[in-house]
C-alpha cells in the first residue's frame, strides 16, 4: 500500500472504529432498557446465574486459594526484612479485597464466562435461533441477552468476594499454619487496618463494574459475530482481549477515584 493509500485507509479504520463504538453504546443502552423486564422473569436470570456463576466457582475458588498462598509467601519474605511480619494478615487482606479480588476474578470471568457467553450467542445467531425468535415476535434482546446481562452483574461481585475470602483463608494457612506467624496478630492487624466501607465496599463496587463491563462486551461480541465458525472464534478472542483490557483500564480509573490520598 502506498503512502497516499495508507492515510485514507487509516482514516476509514478510525471512522469504522468510532461507528462500532457508537453501535456498542446503543447496544448497552438496549441491555439496560431490557434489564427490568428480565428481572420480572426471574427464572431466566436464575438459570443464567447458574450457568455463569456456579460453573465458575471451582476456578475462582482454586485461583483465590493459590493467590492467597503466594501472597502470604511473598509477603512474608518482604515484611520480615523490616520486622513487620506480624502485618502479613493486613497485607494479604488489603491486596485481595482492594485489587486482586476484583481484578483477577474479572480476568478469569472474562476468560471463562465471557467466552462461553460469546460462543453461545454467536452460535445461536449462526443457527438462526435469534432470527427465529424475532420472527415469533419475541425480542431476543429481552429474552436471551438481558437475563444473561443481569446474571453477569450479579455473579461477579459474589465471585470476587469468594475469591478474596478464600484467598485470606489461604494466606492464613500459609502464614499461620505453615510459617508460624501469630494468629492473633494475623487477624487483629487485618481487622484494624481493613475498612469495611473504604476497602471491602469499594472492592465490591469495582467487581460490579467489572461484571457489567465483561458481560456487556461478551454479549456484544456474540451478537455481532459473523455466523461462521471463524467468525465465532474471532468473536470469542475479541471478548477475552477487550474484556481484559477493560478490566485493567477500569481498575486504574476506579482505583484513582477511590483510593487517592485523602484531603
Amino acid at each position: 500500500m502506498t503512502a497516499s493509500d495508507a492515510l485514507p485507509a487509516l482514516g476509514r479504520r478510525a471512522l469504522d472504529l468510532l461507528q462500532r463504538l457508537g453501535h456498542s453504546a446503543f447496544f448497552f443502552l438496549d441491555l439496560l432498557r431490557n434489564a427490568p423486564a428480565a428481572l420480572r422473569r426471574f427464572y431466566l436470570v436464575i438459570a443464567q446465574v447458574h450457568a455463569i456463576g456456579n460453573y465458575s466457582l471451582v476456578i475462582i475458588a482454586a485461583s483465590g486459594l493459590a493467590v492467597g498462598f503466594v501472597l502470604a509467601l511473598q509477603g512474608y519474605y518482604t515484611l520480615s526484612r523490616y520486622g513487620a511480619a506480624e502485618s502479613l494478615g493486613l497485607l494479604v487482606a488489603l491486596s485481595l479485597v482492594r485489587e486482586l479480588g476484583p481484578v483477577v476474578t474479572g480476568l478469569l470471568f472474562a476468560g471463562r464466562a465471557g467466552t462461553s457467553l460469546t460462543a453461545e450467542i454467536g452460535l445461536m445467531k449462526a443457527g438462526e435461533q435469534l432470527a427465529a425468535m424475532e420472527m415469533m415476535a419475541v425480542d431476543p434482546k429481552s429474552r436471551v441477552l438481558a437475563p444473561r446481562f443481569v446474571a453477569g452483574a450479579i455473579s461477579m461481585p459474589l465471585l470476587a468476594a469468594i475469591f478474596s475470602a478464600v484467598g485470606i483463608l489461604g494466606g492464613y494457612v500459609v502464614g499461620v499454619l505453615m510459617i508460624g506467624i501469630d494468629p492473633g496478630a494475623f487477624w487483629s492487624q487485618m481487622q484494624s487496618g481493613v475498612d469495611v466501607w473504604d476497602d471491602v465496599g469499594n472492592g465490591i463496587i469495582k467487581s460490579v463494574v467489572f461484571g457489567v463491563a465483561c458481560t456487556f462486551i461478551a454479549l456484544y461480541q456474540g451478537y455481532e459475530a459473523e455466523a461462521t465458525p471463524e467468525g465465532v472464534s474471532q468473536a470469542t478472542t475479541r471478548t477475552v482481549v477487550i474484556s481484559s483490557l477493560a478490566v485493567l483500564g477500569l481498575d486504574f480509573v476506579l482505583t484513582a477515584l477511590m483510593f487517592s490520598t485523602p484531603r
Binding site: 438462526e128 427465529a132 425468535m133 420472527m135 415469533m136 415476535a137 419475541v138
Partner: protein, 267 residues
C-alpha cells in the same frame, strides 16, 4: 381484488449498496392458497420473505399484510403482524437448549396467558399434526434433519398463523421426508385455511402442491401463473430453470478472461 390477497408486494425494490437484489417486483398472494416462489440461488427469494416479515425495509415500494402496510420502524404493529405469521427456517432454527416440547410451547408461553394444561394439549396436538408427538421429550441434537424441520413446523403453526412462510423446506431431504414435507404443507394449508408461501428451488414438489407459482431470476419476476401455465411458458429463463439446463440465460461459466489467453496459448 386486494381484499382477497393476504399479502401484496407493490413495486418493491431492494438492494445493498450497489447490489440490487429485487427490482420493481409486484406480487399478490391470495388467501388460503399455497404459493411457490422459485428461482436460482441468490435470486432474492429469501430476501422476499424477510421483507414480508419486516426484517428488511425496501428502498422503494410497499408491502401490505391484510390491508395494513408493513413498517419495520413501528415495533408494536410489526410484532402484532408477526404473531399472525409462522416462519419455517431452512434448517429449523430450533432452540437447542430446549426440548422439542418446550420449543413448540415457546410461542404459546410467550404470547398467550394460557395455563400449562392447555399449553400441553395444544403442543401435543401440533406435534401430532406433524407426526412427532412421541418425540416430545427429545432435544434438537437428537433429531434428524427432517424431524427437526417438522418440529420447527409444529412450532411455526403453534399460534395458528394466517400466513406460513417456508424457506427451502425441501432442501437436503431424502425422498420419504420430501414426500412427508410436501404432504404436510398442503394438508396444513387446507385444514387451517392459512396462506402458505413456499420458497424453494425444488421444481417438481412445488408444482405438485402449489396453486400459484412465481419464478424469479436476477431480481425480476420472469414467470407467474398456475403450475400448468408456468410449465407451458416459452420464456427462456423459465424454461432453463424448469428443465434444469446447465447453460442458458443463466450462464454456466463465471465471467473470466479468454480460455486460450489464460492457458498462455496463442489463438
Amino acid at each position: 381484488m386486494t381484499h382477497d390477497a393476504l399479502v401484496a408486494i407493490d413495486h418493491v425494490t431492494f438492494g445493498y449498496d450497489r447490489r440490487v437484489i429485487l427490482s420493481d417486483v409486484s406480487m399478490v398472494f391470495p388467501r388460503g392458497k399455497v404459493i411457490a416462489i422459485m428461482g436460482g440461488s441468490g435470486c432474492g427469494k429469501t430476501t422476499l420473505l424477510r421483507l414480508i416479515g419486516g426484517v428488511l425495509t425496501p428502498q422503494q415500494g410497499t408491502i401490505t399484510f391484510d390491508g395494513a402496510p408493513v413498517d419495520p420502524r413501528d415495533r408494536e404493529s410489526l410484532y402484532a403482524l408477526r404473531r399472525r405469521l409462522g416462519m419455517l427456517f431452512q434448517f429449523g432454527a430450533l432452540f437447542t437448549d430446549l426440548t422439542v416440547y418446550d420449543n413448540v410451547a415457546f410461542p404459546l408461553r410467550e404470547h398467550t396467558g394460557l395455563p400449562e394444561p392447555m399449553v400441553r394439549d395444544l403442543v401435543l396436538m401440533k406435534l401430532n399434526a406433524v407426526g412427532l408427538r412421541g418425540a416430545a421429550q427429545l432435544k434438537p441434537a437428537d433429531l434428524s434433519g427432517g424431524m427437526a424441520r417438522r418440529v420447527a413446523l409444529a412450532r411455526a403453526i403453534a399460534l395458528d398463523p394466517d400466513l406460513i412462510m417456508y424457506d427451502e423446506p425441501f432442501a437436503g431431504l431424502d425422498p420419504i421426508s420430501l414426500g412427508v414435507a410436501a404432504n404436510l404443507i398442503r394438508r396444513l394449508n387446507d385444514a387451517t385455511g392459512a396462506t402458505s408461501l413456499v420458497v424453494s428451488h425444488d421444481v417438481n414438489e412445488c408444482f405438485l402442491i402449489s396453486d400459484y407459482v412465481y419464478v424469479i431470476s436476477g431480481g425480476r419476476i420472469v414467470g407467474r401463473g398456475t403450475p400448468a401455465e408456468v410449465q407451458s411458458s416459452d420464456d427462456p429463463e423459465v424454461l432453463q430453470f424448469i428443465r434444469g439446463e446447465p447453460d442458458g440465460p443463466v450462464r454456466f461459466h463465471y465471467p473470466a478472461p479468454g480460455y486460450a489467453d489464460d492457458l498462455g496459448l496463442r489463438a
